[in-house]
Amino acid sequence: MTTTDVNKLDASQTKQMILYAGEKIRENKPLLTKVDSAIGDGDHGIGMSVGFEKVEENLKDKEFTTINDIFKTTGMSMVQSMGGASGVIFGTMFLGGVKSLDAKSELDISTLAEIFSASLEAIKQRGKAGLGDKTMIDALEPAVNGLKESASDSATLLEALKKAEDNAAEGVENSKKYIAKFGRAKSLGERAIGNQDAGATSVWIIFKSMREWVEQLNK
């Protein structure tokens, strides 16, 4: 750890980091469409792009004083624009975490772990899915575990996000082994094996881009 490493993001930096993640999701629209078309109905990339376009519209020119408001605006933008299962689920990934969080003006590792850990619980409750059901939880749960471990190991923010990214990537790989229990891939049964889940892929892209953004900040 060098002294230049950033371990806390202020509201403006948090906003920039989420905007960057949105950019990356939109860049990956063809990949997400391809992954989803293999076993779903192929609209995941379209939906996620619509959602993050709305996020950009609602975040970009607005000043935020709390992290809570940024996450809330991000989640609401997705819920209100996307529709489909992903709208509610990915909206909850940002909304669910700040629902009962005290107002924070900075985002550090423990806050990040706290937010996504609460989000994960909210998503599980809403979608009634668990690990191994071939959903975005297959990437989110290990990513959250990575954040929590990093928080208790007093890792740097970058290390924590790197761990979350790696765990999410592993989760995407693992999702290939599962039979889908939800969504349109469910009726495929065994035929879904070998294909990764599109939602899990999005989770991985989100953590990967947050890591990239913090990495650039450290440079």
């Binding site: 469409t33 078309s37 109905d41 192929g42 609209d43 379209i46 939906g47 619509v50 819920v79 209100q80 624009s81 996307m82 529709g83 489909g84 299962a85 992903s86 709208g87 509610v88 689920i89 809403r126 979608g127 939800f182 969504g183 349109r184 469910k186 009726s187 495929l188 035929r191």
Partner: protein, 329 residues
């Protein structure tokens, strides 16, 4: 696939503009969301339906008298957002509650449920009936997991008539649930539809292949087989439906032959003829036969057969007058 569109991202919005111009005397559009409701609302239980776009004339086509009071419209093949459902429900509620009716898909369930939670805060009472008519989509032990296809029409028809009669929310919900439990459908796919945004087909089938029981978004069905004559195909589909519905001689049904987009009325009537022959042979009474394109998937080829098993109560609601842009009785 050639499509008459402008920017693929604008298809839903531009379609809605066209719908509103065509039906401006009977429809009102809700500002800010893709929701349409009847202009003349009544003091009764409200019926709200909805789902992804791309299946026209469902669901907007059944907004009218004796049918649905409002519709929440999603992006192409994607469920409408919770706030769309919420705004539609708020507009049509007369204080007597709102019944949600939609096909049983994960996205629709999540968004309508979230809307129901939000409406609770505003003291608007809601109930839900998920349409689960597609017998090919899950075995009978997991009936509640089945998807909703063209049978939506029967369920919405009964709900609309029961609401019109002035029944309470609880009563309308009960008879609507019964209509769903009495509706059995099965489809066959000949060729895919395409998503306007990606231009990609929703599935692929060889030129001489069909898939029995395939879902309206290309969800896998029971069996992929070679194309066969209409009578043989209809016989196979009816066998499955009669098994499921346990219909026996002396009972009565309403029949819906629903085209999926590009299958012609000529073909649908050929199927209808065979369905009638089979029901006649079994001694099952035919109360009504509706041959139409209600639940389509863009230019998808194929059709579905739906049977509504009637009793006196359901028959009365089925026969009640109704008037919407794409449904009249």
């Amino acid at each position: 696939m050639k499509k008459v569109i402008n920017n693929p991202g604008d298809v839903v919005e531009e379609m809605l503009e066209g719908i509103m111009r065509a039906h401006q005397n009977s429809f009102q559009k809700i500002d800010g969301v893709n929701g349409i409701v009847k202009k003349q609302l009544k003091d009764k239980v409200a019926v709200v339906t909805g789902g992804g776009s791309g299946h026209e004339p469902l669901f907007f086509g059944v907004v009218g008298d004796g049918l649905a009071d409002g519709v929440a419209i999603g992006n192409v093949f994607a469920a409408p957002t919770p706030n769309t459902v919420q705004e539609v429900a708020k507009t049509v509620d007369s204080g007597k509650g709102v019944l949600f009716i939609y096909g049983n898909y994960a996205g629709d369930v999540l968004n309508f449920d979230m809307a129901a939670e939000l409406l609770e805060f505003e003291d608007i009472q809601t109930t839900t009936v998920k349409v689960t008519d597609d017998v090919a989509s899950a075995p009978v032990e997991r009936q509640e997991d089945r998807r909703g296809i063209a049978g939506d029409i029967f369920v919405i028809k009964v709900a609309g008539a029961a609401a019109e009669k002035g029944l309470s929310l609880e009563e309308v919900t009960a008879v609507t649930q019964k209509a769903n439990n009495h509706t059995y459908s099965i489809g066959v796919a000949l060729s895919p539809g395409t998503i306007p945004d990606s231009g990609e087909p929703t599935f692929t089938l060889a030129d001489d292949e069909i898939e029995l029981g395939m879902g309206i978004h290309g969800e896998p069905g029971m069996e992929r087989t070679k194309l066969m004559p209409a009578d043989e195909l209809t016989k196979q589909l009816m066998e499955k439906l009669l098994n499921e519905s346990k219909l026996t001689s002396g009972e009565e049904v309403s029949v819906l032959i629903n085209g999926l987009g590009s299958t012609t009325l000529m073909e649908l009537f050929i199927v209808n003829r065979k369905v009638a022959q089979i029901l006649d042979e079994k001694g099952i009474g035919i109360h009504d036969m509706d041959v139409n394109n209600y639940c389509t998937t863009q230019e998808m080829g194929g059709f579905s057969i739906s049977l509504l098993k009637l009793d006196d109560e359901l028959k009365a609601y089925y026969d009640a007058p109704a008037k919407a842009p794409y449904y009249k009785k």
